[in-house]
């Protein structure tokens, strides 16, 4: 982390970049938040540790409009999102100075809390440079510990790899964290009966409070104005103004990002109700891979998304009835 701060100061001072986009220490030991740093001094508040899960690529949309370059810290998975935004002309490559930061897996405090640990005062072992296999946690009730892997976000268990797809320079070590089958959860649902599937999603979706956290954090949901907020799909007869969107919001959102979603997992990370929203996106990814050939959004800037492409002998929609 120190190397990162030193380098950032250097770039700020020599005028290469006008600001730094990174994470700032939060009010609790586990909630750093995305922040812009304009001066070398302000970087004292900069932090990069296991809790810096937030994907900063979406902030580059606004940063691209600002004067001068922005230094942006991107984890390997964040670079996919950045590439995808580049493909869609939403960010300006020339306005970004990308430092690819190492990643040893990002942590989810909810998972720690789920192990029964309460009253967290401080956590050690989550530092970017010296990430350990076990987290030592000081609590109001004494010292506790938790295996790093057990505290990791779901998405890190199914990590696409620790290779940065786009960067100007790299700082920091990474550690392989993938130890689960990416599509296992999706397959589990696919194997359910229609009744079970419906019950599962009905239960999950009825938790939704339409806070829009998923939409706001999603790097693919970068529309200037969301269709759900415009009157384009409105109609004169509509009695209850928002009933339609309410009911179909997550399905439509998933469809809108299908083929563009990099599976960064931010939607599930930020959902205050803990809805596994990534299960929608990942289903589309699995279908696309199976039906149209493997495709990873953002692996390469400028690639043609599966839904803007076709083959003459693509499967017919009836294949859905034939499968499973």
């Amino acid at each position: 982390m120190q190397e990162l701060i030193t380098r950032a100061k250097e770039l700020l001072e020599n005028g290469t970049v006008a600001r730094v986009l990174g994470w700032k220490i939060g009010d609790l030991p586990y909630n750093p938040e995305p922040a812009f740093f304009e001066t070398a001094e302000s970087l004292d508040k900069f932090v990069y540790n296991g809790f810096c899960g937030a994907n900063l690529s979406k902030y580059m949309i606004e940063a691209s409009k600002l004067e001068g370059k922005t230094l942006v810290c991107l984890k390997p998975c964040d670079t996919y999102s950045f590439n995808q935004l580049l493909t869609e002309h939403r960010v300006d490559r020339d306005k970004a100075y990308i430092i690819g930061v190492g990643c040893k897996g990002k942590l989810d405090v909810e998972k720690i809390k789920k192990t029964g640990i309460k009253g967290i005062v401080s956590i050690s072992g989550a530092e970017a440079d010296s990430a350990c296999d076990t987290l030592e946690i000081d609590t109001l009730y004494g010292k506790k510990s938790c295996a790093y892997g057990d505290a990791m976000l779901e998405r890190c268990h199914v990590c696409k790899g620790k290779e940065h797809k786009i960067y100007d320079e790299l700082i920091g070590e990474s550690r392989d964290t993938a130890d689960k089958e990416r599509f296992a959860e999706v397959e589990m649902i696919e194997a359910m009966s229609p009744e079970e599937k419906f019950a599962f999603f009905q239960k999950e979706l009825s938790k939704c409070i339409r806070c829009n956290a998923c939409r706001n954090v999603c790097p693919a949901c970068s529309c200037r104005k969301c269709v759900f907020d415009s009157n384009k799909f409105d109609s004169a007869q509509k009695a209850n103004v928002d009933s339609f969107e309410e009911k179909m919001f997550h399905i439509i959102r998933a469809f809108h990002v299908a083929g563009r979603c990099t599976d960064c997992g931010e939607c599930s990370r930020v959902c205050p109700q803990g809805i596994p929203l990534h299960l929608f996106n990942r289903k589309f990814i699995k279908d696309i891979d199976e039906l149209y050939g493997d495709y990873t959004a953002g692996a390469e800037a400028g690639s043609l998304a599966p839904l803007t492409d076709f083959k003459m002998d693509d499967a017919e929609p009836s294949i859905v009835n034939e499968r499973g």
Partner: protein, 145 residues
Amino acid sequence: MSVNNEFKPKIVAFCCNWCSYAGADLAGSSRLAYPADVKIIRVPCSCRVNPMFILRAFEKGADGVIICGCHPGDCHYSTGNYYARRRMTLLFSMLDYIGVEKGRARVEWVSAAEGVKFADTMNSFVSKIKDLGENVRLGDIRCKN
């Protein structure tokens, strides 16, 4: 009016202007009967059909939605139905994934010359929807009401 309470499904058919709508016209001028439950909406091309239209229909109480377009390779706009095919395949797969019965939504390719196919398709689709019964799940997946 009929007094029996036989299930009368609501079925929305999106037909592309160039092939399937004309196929439906041909079915009509050939007097090939299919159930009145089917109501056709004319769109320029199957690629005009937004998944939101389909979800909206279901949400508003449609029991089945069918999208008809030119045969692949014969699209009036060259490639429209190829895009529609991918979109609908993914959408239908998603519907299946969330537990909506298979077969509530369908895509069929019907050319302007295929009046018989149009009528056959509608007959088979209506009978499929009758088998599935009323659409309750898509009415409200969140079931908050």
